[in-house]
């Protein structure tokens, strides 16, 4: 019975190693754990899927900084792939000065996958200060908010923005954020201009948007890595997108890690009871 005592006092480094393996292994081994699509993800997907190239550009705002990149970047990538697969025009921007670099990197990377050209198929906007002011100003005239794009081209010369004045020509604005910026989009974009708002947020913040989904103030939401993985599943299924499905891989790691943790907890408890029984017997 010495075994149980050893399990019970297992050196924590073994646990660390187990966790590391559980998380890293799925990167290399192809496991498919079926992913069930949750209603908020489905809602966002369906809305974007009904759009056509003449519905006007969709707007994706990268309202996050490097600290929440892990959870949020896969969402941005999945949304961009969906839009580019459908030949929709895209405007990307950020309400954060530190988010603008991320927006530019990711948008241009994904655009390359689809041979999309800046100015014609998509636009990256530069940083403009103030959340409220920026959103309100897009509601009036986006070319006034951003006189030039990120690369310094005048926005009124870009064919992608032909006939686009304000929210009326932008069918949806999606805020990807680990903080409270989606609230600003809801308050100023939806309430004031009736713009459809989509939200991509971290797993921890996701629950706070449920009331807004219920009242339809938010058209759809991706919550955490799971939400991103669901979206990736949808676009893989219907558009056969290639490229790394970061979140799906991450989700496999996530599932593996949770399973390992639960096995550890069960082992811990078995050893606890075994040792107790042993002690009772010896007493």
């Amino acid at each position: 019975m010495n075994f149980w005592i050893r399990i019970s006092d297992l050196d924590r480094r073994w646990i660390y190693l187990l966790m590391a393996v559980a998380i890293i292994l799925p990167f290399f081994v192809n496991i498919t754990i079926p992913i069930r699509i949750s209603p908020p993800t489905q809602a966002l997907y369906t809305y974007i899927d009904t759009l056509s190239p003449d519905s006007g550009p969709i707007l994706i705002s990268f309202d996050y900084d490097p600290s929440t990149q892990g959870e949020l970047t896969p969402m941005a990538i999945a949304l961009l792939r969906h839009a580019f697969s459908k030949n929709l025009h895209v405007i990307t921007m950020s309400l954060y000065p530190t988010g603008i670099g991320i927006a530019e990197n990711i948008t241009s990377d994904i655009a390359k996958e689809y041979n999309k050209i800046e100015g014609r198929d998509y636009v990256v906007m530069p940083y403009a200060p103030g959340y409220q002011a920026v959103i309100l100003s897009i509601g009036e005239d986006i070319k006034n908010t951003f006189a030039t794009d990120y690369y310094g081209n005048r926005t009124d010369t870009l064919s992608c923005l032909n006939g686009v004045k304000n929210f009326e020509q932008i069918p949806i604005a999606i805020s990807i954020s680990g903080s409270s910026t989606p609230y600003a989009w809801i308050t100023y974009g939806y309430t004031k201009y009736g713009e459809k708002i989509g939200v991509g947020t971290t797993a921890v913040s996701a629950t706070s948007y449920y009331p807004y989904l219920r009242t339809k103030q938010v058209a759809g939401m991706l919550g955490g890595l799971k939400g991103a993985a669901e979206y990736e599943t949808l676009i893989r299924k219907f558009y056969h997108t290639k490229g790394r499905s970061m979140a799906t891989i991450g989700m496999n790691s996530q599932s593996m890690a949770h399973i390992i943790m639960i096995i550890l907890i069960i082992l811990g408890n078995i050893s606890y009871f075994a040792i107790r029984k042993q002690n009772k017997r010896s007493a």
Binding site: M19, H258, F273
Partner: protein
Amino acid sequence: MKRRLPLIIVMLTGIGMIIQYFIPHPVSKAIYKQSIDWVIIISAFYLVLGVGGIFIINYQKIKRRKEGWWLSIITLSALIITALIGIFGGIDNKSVFMDIFMYIQLPMQAAMFSLLAFYIASAAFRSFRARTPEATVLLITATIVMLGRVPIGSLIYRGLPGITEWILSTVSLAAQRGILLGVGLGSIATSMKIILGIERSYLGGGE
């Protein structure tokens, strides 16, 4: 005077800020905005003090060749270099300062933060043992919620995400609300004691 003046200042600023809350007049709003800046400015002086302390401690370590004195050289030079590059080289997105932040500070902070993935597992393994009924409840809820959040959970049992959601929005919410109500009452009472000059430990004990 020496003992009284700090307490009088506490009382005046405290009551002033309470009154300000009730006055929508622009003068009151302006005072509030200005006061935030004042607090930020005053706090900045403490950073000077703190950094001064760091210099003294590390300098002494180096001077006396204490164990690990050369590590102090790393801290001090990193501090000085980063600060100088920031102040003289600018802090915008394309500056060297931002590179230092993005590729030195941020990765290490993120790595520190991510150690939690390991620690949370080891903490759960060690302490989630059904020793008492209360501990058992804790361990069962934790397990349900843990499973309810990943795709594999709904493969085991379809209803798990729903149960998770339900626990979080009822029982869990109730307990948190109860704790927060108590914390609210307690911290208001402490704030009031501060304004009344009864609570003055922040002045550094006794007198």
